[in-house]
């Protein structure tokens, strides 16, 4: 037993420099190294002790996460005054930084402008605690209602899709993995003798894929009917509601095969009838299904991709191609395909490469009509900068010639003209930002012309615009950091700032006067642009408020519990 789980012990101790820094801030200038060492040992020990006590409060509070109040209560147990002012109802998201061989956890606190706080209207009063009853189970069966978790959680759906043999149904029929195999085998003596768990036939592979049940309850059938009708019906308000339901309801797992078939059949029929509106509705359904966080669509991608692809590259999607805006549908569907690729493409199914191949093939073909051409390019462009760089840019010259021949040549068909026009603007839209990154700044019309042929001049002006825009954004970033540098004047000796993506959750904004001084260095570290940050790593000086020490200590303390 002991071998299974190796005890992870944190032998972390605070660095003795911290002691020095703290001492300095208290006005004790020279602390002997020995004293520091002793202090570190002592402080580390006490912090661990407190963290262990705090865990007790966490457990008794029926929580999974340690909060600041737990630390406070633990301090109180030890007859130590709690740290006032560090209250957070929610878990504090800790940020991690590393670099230069050092690792650090800290907690981001935004600098808050008081006047902003004063001027903004009061936040809504948080809702009061209330009690809500629902049926978790009715005579042993769990009803599929929004209050209950989805019958099959996403992980399980994923497991079923990717590794059908490993997954097992949860809940009642716990027939899947035989648990406790280690001990069960050994304790054959004694009382367990007559109960040998399942009657095994020797040598027969006993694990069969559980048969999926596709029966829908009456409620589910009603729901399905309502939803599909609303999705393709005429009332926009109803549709929005239905789509919202598809995108958020947790219990749709059972209905997925129906929806998938509905969409693919719907596309097949409506493409033939050139019913643009319905196609758009169906694509919005796909989008909603994709957005539902409880669904894992892997099993249905084979039905969905053809439908979506059809909406991108079909020769004709509407009755009057010269008037109707089928381009928007193609754009939308192209984004969907890109999303599908991002979510489901693996090295085994190669979705992305297969899709790319399809698009490229139809684009390269000389006889492809402009509509399909547009779709293929849109589809490729949505797949990201790399795809644009490797597949679209090399063909710009060729494509430009083709466009020019249509636009400048004799008017053969108005439809072709419109198509070419759209293709041109599409290419400009997608290629310009990529080129702006790839090519060094002096944008020369002639250079562009030699590189990209007839599209060159236009591209050039677009690239210039793109550059200007990028510069503008950079400037905005710069300005904010400038203000920070002014406030700061101080930076802790931290490693180079890591670049944080905007996907991280930002903590709730709170006024924090005690952080006014020291909040700033945290800021520089967390601001997204690392190059700018280097500017503010001015001479180190530790902020001198008492709160900071406790704060730093507190940060460490959580590191220990994490360890």
């Amino acid at each position: 037993m002991a071998e299974e789980k190796k005890l992870k012990l944190s032998n972390t101790v605070l660095p003795s420099e911290s002691m020095k820094v703290v001492a300095e801030s208290m006005g004790i200038a020279q602390m002997p190294e020995e004293t520091c060492q002793l202090l570190t040992d002592e402080v580390s020990y006490r912090i661990k002790e407190i963290a262990q006590d705090a865990l007790k409060f966490m457990h008794m509070g029926k929580r999974q996460k340690l909060t600041t109040s737990d630390i406070d209560y633990a301090l109180k147990l030890k007859n130590v005054e709690p740290l006032y002012g560090f209250h957070a109802q929610e878990f504090i998201p800790f940020r991690f930084a590393s670099g230069g061989g050092r690792e650090l956890y800290f907690y981001e606190e935004k600098e808050v402008d008081l006047s902003d706080i004063i001027n903004t209207p009061l936040p809504r009063v948080p809702l009061d605690v209330c009690l809500k009853a629902h049926w978790l189970s009715i005579e042993g069966f769990q009803p599929a209602i929004p209050e209950n978790p989805p019958p099959a959680p996403k992980e399980q759906q994923k497991a079923e899709a990717t590794e059908p043999l490993k997954s097992a149904k949860p809940g009642q029929e716990e027939d899947g993995p035989l648990k406790g195999k280690g001990q069960g085998a050994v304790s054959a003596d004694g009382k367990g003798k007559e109960k040998k768990a399942p009657p095994l036939l020797e040598g027969v592979p006993l694990r069969l894929k559980p048969r999926s049940i596709h029966e829908l309850s009456v409620e589910q059938q009603l729901y399905y009917k309502e939803i599909t009708e609303a999705c393709v019906g005429s009332c926009e308000a109803k549709r929005a509601e239905a789509l919202q339901s598809i995108a958020t309801d947790p219990g749709l797992y059972q209905m997925l095969p129906r929806f998938s078939t509905f969409i693919s059949e719907g596309v097949r029929v409506n493409v033939v009838q050139n019913n643009l509106a319905l196609l758009i509705y169906l694509m919005r359904m796909v989008k909603a299904l994709m957005d539902n966080p409880t669904l894992y669509l892997e099993k249905y991608v084979h039905e969905l991709i053809p439908a979506v692809m059809t909406c991108i590259v079909s020769r004709q999607l509407c009755l009057r191609p010269d008037v109707d805006n089928h381009w928007a549908l193609r754009d939308f569907a192209a984004r969907l395909v890109a999303q599908i690729c991002k979510h489901f493409s693996t090295t085994t199914n190669n979705i992305q490469s297969r899709i790319t191949k399809t698009f490229t093939k139809s684009w390269v073909d000389e006889k492809t009509p402009w509509t399909t051409r547009y779709g293929s390019i849109a589809g490729l462009a949505e797949l990201g900068h790399d795809v644009i760089k490797t597949l679209i840019l090399p063909r710009l010259q060729q494509e430009g010639e083709r466009i020019r021949s249509v636009l400048d040549g004799p008017v053969l068909s108005n439809i072709d003209r419109i198509g070419a026009d759209h293709v041109q603007s599409l290419l400009l839209k997608h290629c310009a930002p990529v080129l702006a990154k790839l090519r060094p700044p002096p944008d020369n019309q002639d250079a562009f012309r030699t590189d990209f042929g007839s599209l060159g001049p236009l591209l050039c002006s677009h690239v210039v615009k793109a550059r200007a825009q990028a510069a503008l954004q950079a400037q905005q970033v710069n300005r904010t950091t400038l203000t920070i540098t002014q406030v700061t004047g101080a930076a802790f000796s931290f490693p180079a700032a890591p670049a944080y993506t905007d996907t991280l959750p930002s903590p709730p904004v709170r006024p924090s006067n005690h952080w006014a001084a020291e909040g700033s260095w945290l800021h520089c570290i967390t601001c997204s642009d690392s190059s700018v940050c280097k500017g503010c790593s001015a001479p180190p000086a530790f902020p001198t408020s008492n709160q900071v020490h406790s704060h730093v200590v507190f940060v460490w303390c959580l590191v220990f519990t994490a360890g």
Binding site: L9, Y45, K62, A133, S137, E147, Q172, D189, K191
Partner: protein, 820 residues
């Protein structure tokens, strides 16, 4: 009564018997687990002194009078005990037989608390209390605050009551457990006045030792480590033993492997105590990987402990020192070990084995690895066999006969005897409500219970009516579960309780509030104010209705009063009161008529983790961080009993359905069962591998289910004191457990957001508790969790904090939605 008080005073002023063990190492029949446990905990519990009341309990125990009236007796006990920080000690000391000494002690305490050390000493010298004073903690060296010193004093007193004396026939040799004759009463817990003579005899013998040793409490305890062995040799010793054990025969290996952990800990502590920091670290590094995984929490504490200074005040460490680690080893294995150690001249290890371990030797076959694994895991090893030998009256009390109103005659009148024929056998098997007295039941008046009021009788009738409509549960008929989700609780829900008739739900919150909801259409109303009440016609029939103030009707009432998170809540059976226990160290009693706080019971001084009303009302039990559980009566402001013995926080407390026993689950990974009558610990259940967070008695009182942080639920046979089942399935702390009304189904709720239902009938059905198993305590657990699991129901990120079966066997579950 007077005699009782006398006895206690006697006990109270007894000098300190606790000190370094000057006596030969292992005392047969000595009870380190309990006695010293009590003394230890009081060193860190502030007032009230775990020990004092334990001593009072001891007083009761010494003269087992079945007809003793606990409230009264306990009142005396309570007054005898100089109340801790909260109570007025001086006042408490008055009115007792040996008033002078009491007063003196109280004054001394007061002086100490106010840091007037000098005057304290002068007074002491004058009063010739020097010996006691020395025993009572060295003056001047106490580093804790005054309150702590007080409690230290109290703790000594407590220990005096404990049977820590040299047991009869002190076999000085290494023959631990060789004297089972003395074991019976001695083992039974904190403050069992073993025999009047034993402690008294022990006391003078020890006074000398203690008086010489002028050191504060902790150091005295620690000094046992003051052995000078060559620190470099420790690793060699340990690996030598390890080698020996690993090379021994298979049948012995499992048993001897139990030695690894306690030896490891004690050797490490010795190294630390003697300030060989580096050796200690390397010793730890080298061998901590060998230890069983369930000890890792304790190891984590140990790993941070690297300096002698840290050892003072470290509770886990003190546990190791003050309580002997109990091992059960067969005689053959033990002989093998003894021979090896003697051959090798391995004195270091031999000393540890003698001084810090209690080896419970049994005859017969060595146990298998599975058998051992099932039982170990607690902080101080297994329970001694003797600890679970006391008789427990686990049967139910006879239900009072109730005159039933005419219209329900057919339903109720026969209910007792066998109205629906099919129900009769069930009732009998469950031992409930049958007319004849259950042979295992305690005498009806073993502890005095409150008389039934008219309203109680009405409620009983309601209950019986509902009972007839109860669903018979079983594997084919699972109960429905209604889940009450607390929304917008912001991670703040800490406790929940539901009334027996399922009409009210109370929630304790981290923001110190207690909220009471009515879940029936009947709203909550409070009584009118005094002036309005005086206007009411008191003769009218509906006076009870008239006193209620309609204006106050609402679904939710909020009770303000605590100053810390509310960790426990419990409704009284008659729904008139609500108890809540909190981080602020108090238990509060709330009236559900006026929705105000009636009493704040102070005593714990540290967070109180749980509280529960007795099934008959009036009494309640609370347990907290100070490692003791206390029994209270609602009309006494001080506890009637203090159950001391746990080595770590008491996390949960439950009353036995017959109200004669209390079960406590602790962070030391043991469950104890205490006798309410005399405060004895009558059962110690070991086997959990994590702190225990939930307890549930089966409705027939025979079985106990316990759930811990390791996600396992263990089932215990109370009568035999044996583990009878293990339910594996949960992946996180089991927060709540409940049996269905007829005991067919066990429901468990956990932090892993699931409710699971288990087949309790099957789990208990073929228990072959033969004499052999009973005698040896060797258990073989069937590996049948999967067969017993009837259903698993996931909630939507809502930890299941509470479970309740309504009278018709519908499950009510509750928890706070906590979005990730």
């Amino acid at each position: 009564m007077a005699a009782l008080a006398e006895e206690q005073t006697e006990v109270v002023i007894k000098p300190d018997p606790e000190g370094p063990p000057a006596l030969p190492a292992t005392q047969p029949g000595d009870c380190p687990g309990e006695g010293s446990g009590g003394s230890h905990n009081s060193s860190h519990n502030g007032g009230g002194g775990g020990g004092v009341a334990a001593s009072s309990a001891g007083g009761d125990g010494g003269t087992p009078k079945p007809a003793v009236a606990p409230p009264a007796a306990a009142a005396a006990a309570a007054t005898a005990a100089p109340g801790g920080a909260a109570g007025a000690p001086a006042a408490a000391a008055e009115g007792i037989a040996s008033q002078d000494r009491q007063t003196l002690l109280a004054v001394l305490q007061f002086l100490r608390r106010s840091n007037l050390r000098e005057s304290e000493e002068i007074l002491r010298r004058e009063a010739r209390l020097l010996e006691e004073a020395a025993g009572a903690g060295a003056p001047g060296e106490m580093d804790g605050p005054g309150a702590e010193a007080t409690s230290a004093l109290l703790s000594r007193v407590a220990a005096a009551a404990g049977p820590t004396g040299p047991g009869p026939g002190s076999g000085s040799g290494p023959g631990p457990g060789a004297c089972p004759a003395s074991a019976g009463p001695a083992a039974s817990g904190a403050g069992t006045g073993n025999s009047g003579a034993a402690p008294t005899a022990a006391a003078p013998a020890k006074v000398g030792v203690v008086a010489v040793e002028d050191q504060p409490d902790v150091s005295a305890v620690l000094s046992a480590y003051n052995q000078q062995g060559d620190p470099a040799m420790y690793e060699e010793y340990y690996s030598g033993l390890k080698h020996f054990i690993e090379c021994s025969l298979d049948c012995h290996r499992a048993e001897l492997s139990q030695l690894f952990y306690p030896l490891f800990v004690h050797m490490y502590l010795e190294l630390v105590y003697n300030q060989h920091e580096n050796e200690a670290k390397s010793f730890f590094e080298k061998f901590h990987g060998d230890q069983e995984c369930y000890y890792q929490d304790d190891l984590r504490v140990l790993s941070s402990l690297t300096k002698k200074e840290h050892m003072k005040g470290n509770e886990t460490m003190l546990d190791f020192r003050t309580s002997k680690f109990v091992l059960r080893i067969s005689r053959d294995s033990y002989q093998l070990l003894k021979r090896h150690l003697q051959e090798k001249q391995n004195n270091q290890i031999w000393n540890i084995v003698q001084e810090h371990l209690y080896i419970d030797i049994f005859d017969g076959m060595p146990r298998s690895k599975q058998q051992i694994d099932a039982m170990v895991g607690s902080m101080a090893g297994e329970a001694k066999r003797e600890a679970n030998k006391a008789k427990v009256f686990f049967g139910l009390l006879k239900e009072p006969e109730i005159e039933v109103p005419l219209d329900d005659e057919d339903e109720e009148g026969e209910n007792e005897e066998g109205k629906p024929k099919k129900k009769k056998p069930k009732k009998d098997s469950m031992g409930s409500k049958s007319k004849k007295q259950d042979p295992n039941a305690p005498p009806q008046n073993r502890i005095p219970l409150p008389e039934l009021k008219d309203s109680d009788k009405l409620d009983k009738i309601m209950n019986m009516k509902e009972t007839t409509k109860r669903v018979r549960l079983g594997p084919d008929c699972l109960p429905s579960i209604c889940f009450y989700t607390f929304l917008n609780a912001y991670q703040g829900l800490t406790a929940v309780d539901v009334t027996d008739d399922s009409s009210l739900i109370a929630g304790g919150f981290a923001d110190s509030t207690v909220r009471v909801w009515s879940v029936t259409p009947k709203k909550l109303r409070s009584v009118k104010t005094a002036t309005d009440l005086s206007l009411i016609d008191k003769e009218s029939d509906d006076v009870l209705e008239r006193i209620m103030d309609e204006k106050t009707a609402s679904e939710l009432k909020i009770l303000y009063g605590h100053s810390g998170p509310v960790y426990g809540a419990s409704f009284s059976p008659d729904r008139n009161y609500l108890l809540s226990s909190s981080e602020d160290g108090t238990v509060r009693l709330w009236s559900l008529q006026t929705f105000t706080c009636l009493v704040g019971y102070k005593g714990h001084n540290y967070p109180v983790w749980d509280t529960q009303f007795s099934p008959y009302g009036y009494y309640f039990v609370s347990g907290g961080h100070d490692r003791v559980a206390r029994l209270w009566a609602t009309d006494h402001y001080q506890p009637l009993r203090i159950f001391a013995g746990h080595l770590a926080d008491v996390n949960c407390t439950r009353f036995h359905p017959n109200s004669n026993y209390v079960a406590t689950g602790s962070a030391d990974r043991t469950v104890r069962l205490w006798d309410v009558l005399n405060g004895n610990c009558v059962r110690i259940f070991t086997g959990h591998k994590g702190p225990i967070h939930s307890l549930a008695f089966s409705p027939n009182g025979r079985f106990l289910a316990t759930g811990a942080t390791d996600g396992r639920v263990l089932l215990w046979d109370i009568g035999h004191g044996l583990m009878v089942g293990e339910l594996k399935g949960h992946t996180d702390t089991v927060c709540s457990l409940k049996f269905s009304r007829d005991g067919e189904i066990l429901a468990s709720g956990s932090m892993d957001n699931t409710v699971r239902l288990w087949d309790a009938i099957k789990a208990f059905e073929d228990l072959e508790t033969d004499d052999f198993t009973t005698a040896t305590g060797h258990i073989n657990l069937p590996e049948n969790s999967q067969d017993l699991l009837l259903g698993t129901y996931m909630t939507k990120s809502t930890p299941v904090v509470h479970l309740h079966f309504t009278r018709r066997n519908l499950v009510l579950a509750a928890g706070a939605y906590s979005p990730q």
